[in-house]
Every structure is written in C-alpha cells, then in structure tokens.
C-alpha cells in the first residue's frame, strides 16, 4: 500500500513543532511535509495527485497568499479524494459563515483549533487516513493508479450513449465526482454486496 502524505500548510509553525514530531512518528518522517507558503503547498499537492494526501491547513496564510477557503476551492476543483483538516488559532466565530458553509459543502474533513491536544489532532488525522483507505473512490483510484500506462490507456467501459472511457478517463471522473464517476462507484459497491451475500465467491482481500 502506498503511504499517506501529510501536508501541513502553516505560516507560523517551526519544523521542530511537537505536532510534526508526532505526525512523523505515526506516518513516517518522509511523509510529513511542512509548507509555510501556501501557494507552494498547493503546488506540492497538485504534483502528487496520484498519491493519498491529508492536508492540515491553517486559515490565514499571509499577504498575497491564498487562504484556506481559496486553497480548498482549488483542491476541490481538481479532486475530491484529498482529505482536508483546518487547523487554526482563529476563533471559529470570526470565520465568515459563507466560508464555513463552503467548507462543509466542499467536504472538509474536520476543523480543529490549534490549541487542541496533539492527541485530538492525531485522532482526527487518523480518522481521515482510515477513510482514505476504505472509501470506494479512494480504493478505486489507488487500484487504477497501480495499472501500467498501456492498461490505463485501453478503453475500459462504454456507456449506453456510446462514450468510451479508459482507466485514465475514469480516474478523472471519480476525482471530480461526475455522474459517471459516482455511477461506477455505486456499481462496484453493489457488486461487492452481491458477492458477500451470495457467498458464491470468496473474497480474497
């Protein structure tokens, strides 16, 4: 299984911060990335779209740099498969409602104050990691990303309307949660349930 990257975007945190220490302990030293400049953080995320990522995001990120709402919007324009947790000293009540609504609608995994216990932050990150490993779309994406390039380019499914999709196309549909992407996920879940209930075939994983 490919390891999960924890991308921490925070303009006021030292590399020696105890939170990062604990995250490294849990997810591996190389898998915890601190970006103090948010645009660089975003760049890193987009360069690593094929891997699993959890983003720990501060709210205000300095002049001329995208803040949390913008970053989340940009990430969600590209993929729904990254987990985002907002980690901030900002009082929740001073975050405009529109943004809070947007956070929920853009499936932000969680929001936690930077004064919270490290264990609480870790448990939130753990839950996000667990979802990344078990969500159908994430599993599918991981499975597709493991195929060879030629496999990815081959036509994989044809819709009733006659549109042909390769695995590479499908991954985009799934990331963007299009109708087709959702349909594929649904069908797989149905298949899995059927296999489990019919008992005709043993699941090998």
């Amino acid at each position: 299984m490919k390891s999960i990257k924890i991308v921490v975007i925070h303009d006021n945190m030292k590399v020696t911060d105890p939170l990062l220490f604990s995250l490294r302990e849990r997810f591996g030293t190389d898998n915890v990335i601190l970006k103090e400049v948010s645009s660089e953080g975003l760049e890193y995320i987009f360069d690593n779209l094929t891997g699993k990522q959890i983003v720990l995001l501060d709210y205000d990120l300095g002049a001329d740099q995208p803040h949390a709402p913008e970053i989340i919007r940009e990430i969600r324009d590209r993929t729904s498969l990254i987990q985002i947790i907002i980690f901030t000293a900002k009082q929740f009540s001073s975050i405009p409602y529109e943004y809070l609504i947007e956070f929920i609608n853009n499936e932000t995994f969680g929001i936690i104050q930077s004064t919270a216990d490290i264990v609480d932050v870790l448990s939130l990150v753990d839950r996000a990691a667990h979802q990344l490993e078990t969500r159908v779309d994430c599993v599918l994406e991981e499975w597709i990303s493991k195929r060879t390039d030629s496999e990815k380019r081959k036509p994989y499914i044809t819709t009733k309307a006659g549109a042909v999709y390769t695995l590479s196309d499908l991954i985009v549909e799934i990331r963007k949660e299009t109708k087709l992407g959702q349909q594929v996920e649904k069908s797989i879940l149905q298949l899995a349930t059927e296999l489990l209930t019919s008992g005709k075939k043993e699941l090998d994983d």
């Binding site: 105890p18 939170l19 205000d60 001073s94 930077s114 490290i118 009733k160 109708k179 349909q183």
Partner: protein, 708 residues
Amino acid sequence: MIEEKNLKWRFDVNAFRLFGRDLITDRITAVYELVKNCYDANATSVVVSFENVGANASGKPNITISDDGHGMSFNDVRDKWMVVGTASKRNKLFSDKPFNRRYVGEKGIGRFAVDKLGGKLTISTKQKGEKERLIVKIDWDAYEVKSRSTQLTLFTDIENGFFFEEDNPEIHGTTLSISSIAELWTEPDIKRLERELEKIVSPFYPLDPPFNIYIQSNEYSGYENRQVKAETIKYSSHQFSINFNLDNNIQETLKFDNTKNQIIKQQIPIQIFGPVHLELYYFNEAAKKRYNSAYKNDDYRVDGVKIYRDGLITTPFAEFESERDKKRDILGIDKRLWSGTFDKIGTREIIGILDITKDSNPQIIEATNRQDFVDNREYRELKEFVISQLRSIAELKKYERYLIKVSIDKNLARANIEIKEFTTRIETLERKNPTLEKILKPLREQAISIDRSIKKGIQQQERERKDHIRKENIYLSLMSLQDYAIHISHAVRTALGKVKRMAEFFKERYPNPELDTYFREYSVGIYDEMTNLSRIIDFMLSYAGSTIDMEDFNIKTLLVNLFEKSYSPVFQAESIHSIIEIQDSFIIHANRKFFEDIIENLISNSIKALRNENNKIIKCAGYIDIDKFVVVFSDNGEGIKKENEERIFEMYYTTTADLGGAGLGLYIVKTRVESLNGSISLIKSEFFPKGASFKIVFPLRKTSHEVD
C-alpha cells in the same frame, strides 16, 4: 395526414432533476430563462401569456411563451433541445446577422425551466421557408416517475410524441405551451415578473434589432398586451456616468474634490478587469422622500448595482426575493465592515447599471452556481472599483450633511442678530417717544424672551454636536480596540497552542534520553512564549484604565515607552527591528489615548505591510521644527501603490481585507491627528524604493512648554 412518432431525450434522469428542480429555484427565474432562450433565437418579440392561472379562474390554466425567433428544425430539437449542455451554443459566439447577439443561455438549461412551471409541455416550432411546423408533446410527470425508480439506468428511455403540421412558409418562431400549471399566479406575482423582466435589458445598451417583451393575461387588467419596459429612473438627486476610452487606455472614475466640494471625474488606466461603463443614480435624503411619495414606499427599484453583459443582465439571475434584506448583494456593498455607520452609501440609496462585455471583460466569469461571479483577482478588483465610486459619493453625502448643518447655524445666527436689531430699534423708539412705552414694553419683553430662546437653541445645538463628536470618537476608539482585540486574541491563541503542544510533549514522553535535545529546545520555547504572553496581557490590561480625557504628558516619554515597552513583544513576535529617535523632550496638554491610537494604528498598518519582508524595520523619528512638532513614521514594507496614495486615509479603504483590514487604521490616524490640530501626509519613503513614510505635524501652542 398527421402521423405521430416518438422522440427520446438524451440525458440522465438525475441531470433532469438537477437542472429542472434544483438549479431553477423559482418560477420567475424559470420564465426569465425561457425569455433568454428567445433572445438567443434572434427573436425581436416575445409574448408571455397567462391564461386562467389565478385563484378564481374557470378555464384550463395555461402559460404560453411565444417568440418570432428562428425556430427549430427536427434535428435541432433532437440534437440540441433534448440534450443537456449542448455545446453548439459555445462553438458559435454570435447569433446570425443582423442580430449578432452574444448567446446568453450558456448552460442550455433554460428548457428545463419549463418543468418548474407546469407538468405538460407542447413545443410548436417552425423555421422560415419550411412548409411544416413541428409539434412535440412532453409529459414531465413521466420523468418524475422515472427518476424515482431505483432501477439503474444512465439514460432515459422515455418517449415523446411528435408530429408535423402544414403551415405558411413565411412564419417562423417557437411557442412553448405549458399546462398542468404547478402553482397559482396572482396579480402581484405577474407584477413581480414584469419588474424582473424590466431588468433583463440594460437601458443604456441599445439593442438593434430590438428585443421586446410583452405580458398578457386574460384575468388581470392592464395586461392585455403590455410591453415590458424599463422605466426611466426618476427622482434621483445625482447622476454619474462613468465611461472609458479603449484607444487611449482611459477609464473614468469618480472622486470627491475637497476644494470644489463636488464629485469630479478622474482618468486612470483601464484596470485588469477591463473597461467598464457605469451609470450611477444617487438618492439623497430629499430625493428618497420624493421617490417614496411618488412610488408609495415601494422602493424595489433602488436596489444597488446590477451587472449587464452585452446589454443583457448577468447575475443575480432575477431570482425573486421579496424580503429586502435577503436580496443578494453580490458586489458586497452592504456587507462592508461596520455597515450602516456614519456616511456610508448602501444599496438602498443607489441604482447602478454596470455594462461589461464578453470581449472586453473576459475574466469576469459567471459562477456555475449562478449566484455570483467566479472569485478571481479581476472580479475582486471590479468590486473594489464599484465600491470606490460609492466611497466618493459617500464623501458628497458627508459634505451635503455639513451644508445643511451650516445653513441651520447661519439661520439661527441671523435670527439672533435680527432680534437684537429689533430690540434696539424698539428701545430707540421708546426713548424718542416716551408716550409709547406702554405699547412698546410688552413687545420689547417678548423680543428679549425670543432672543433668550434662540440663544438657548444655539447652545443646545452646540452641545448636541459636541456630544455627537464625542460619541463618534468613543465609537472609533472602540472599533480600533476591537480590531486590536482580534489581533491580540489571535496572537495569544497561537502562542498558547505552541506552549500547550510543547508541554504535552513533556507530559507524554518525559523522561526519554533519546529525546533530550527536544526537551531542552521545548523548555526554552515554553519560557519564551510565556514571557511574550505575559507582556501581551499586561499591555491589553493597560487599555482598561484609559479614558479619553485631556492631560499633560511628555511626548518623548510616551513615544519611547510605546516602542520600547508596550509594543516590544509585538515587534519581537513579528521579528521587526524597531528604531525610535525622539530628539526633543517636552510636555503637551492633549489626549494621551489619541496619541497612542495614532501610533498603534500606524504600527498595525506597518505590520501588515511588512508581512512579506525578511528584514523588517519600523522607524519613528520626532523633532521640533520652529513652532511645530514633527513625527516621521516609516517602515520598509511593501509600500503604497501610486494609484492608492490618494485614498489611503479614506474610511473603509483597505488593500488588506483578506487580513482582516477594515480600512479604519489610517482613517483613525488621520482623524486623531486632526483632532489634535495636526496634519498627516504620505512622503517619499525613507527606505525608498521600499516602504512608506508618514509625516505628522503638530502645531506647538503657547500652552505647551519645553522641559530639559
């Protein structure tokens, strides 16, 4: 002979529900979308007709939308009308000549709006030159049944009947006839529709060929064949027309001229959002009164700035909202911080028509949720542009209020003088004619009594004005405190978070020889952060005892204390190198809190400007220059852009809204400096080419005296 065949839609059932039911949120928008489709079809005339839609109707209810556009062929219906998000509209930007209309129904969702209106639809369409008219019958309820089924189908198999009918080859156009009407349409509903349709076409962007909209109703009077026309805007007190010149790269913008006391036009380069034409109508209090008496308080028209692209309205997409306060204010005119205070202009005082085009303003993009524009730099700057026009009008409003005050003062003063003259004359008359004393005495006494009342009135007014200024000062002081509190609480929480994590590390892991270097580092870290916190809190508490009274204080001691004690934790936290050089020491009698406010706001301003600077410097120098005390306050931050220089002292003007900047800091500085009889100006930066320098000059009055 008429032969009926079947035609299938080509879209997902879910897409149908999404587009039809969820995207179009109300009936008025639905009609609006259908009218937009007529525009795209090169219609010159659209008739929206309501039959038997009211509560007391006896016949079958029906809504018909009929245009004289180009009509649709069978292929059009099959390949475009029945497919969602057809790309055809996007491949071609313009409709056919002579119309050359920009397509506006970009999403291809207008046709689903029909579902919002009624359950059954008949499309009757015909192209010019064709001998037959195509008629398609659609039953939306069937789709509803289909979409509720759990069966997994990506595309529908619903069939729609269609047939052809002979017709005159010269006739062209499309008629949508909707029955099984979902809801009642009352007379006010239709009036509301008319009001929204009025806004579709910009009154300042003439359409040629025209696009006329008519409303008909067999139930409500006045709607026999009523043309929808934007009413000319009446009763406004001021009108401003802001234009541009593409060839010379000129964009006009409004500015309040303090010397002429009127709004003038300035020329700036065309901004990144592209050239814009803006018509603004401002209603001052008197105009608002005239307006309200004319329209019987039905002030729906005075509702802020609307954006038209290529002559057609963009967003908000005519979605009707009856409650004023819930109306979408997409430009954020009313949402500005400290809304409603003092002299700000709100959406209920202006009508604005902002014309943009797809060619010249391509980066102003309607958001897919159809509620707003895509939030990009261009759009943010466009919003700022509009708001800056309103700020200029706000200056005018302030000036007009001042004029009213002055004229009242003058009248009172004149009355006072006249009464005095009157009394003197009576006295003279009395002296000359002692016999008249009996008659004149009561008159004289009455005049004296009137004189007393006027004097009292003048005093009362003066007291109230002072009280008002005092309240305004307290209010502004509170605002700066609130701004400061937000700043401090964030700093405290950040520091607390760090301390807590380091302490937690100890709690969970101590002892562990392998982590000794961490333990050592964190213990120092905890100590430093705690020291910082304690200083921040001490400073915060110092606010608790402050008043706004006048007192004697040494200005050098005050400034040095502020820099070296009060603000040193802030400077330390922000890694700012601070320099304070005050040459002369002397005592002044003034408001100490005001002085502190000036410095506090300048520092907080500099901190924002220094955010991206590695080697941060804040410098404050002070010296006596003959009969003035001069303070020069500088930083080496990002500086102030040339085009912003004139506006930085204006209230609510901010370039750091994203950092919580409310546009108050420099305004407070300026008002505080002025209340101490001083002046402030932006001078060439001491750290040129970086940074900014402010020069503050206080006149030294005789009451202040130098000490060693």
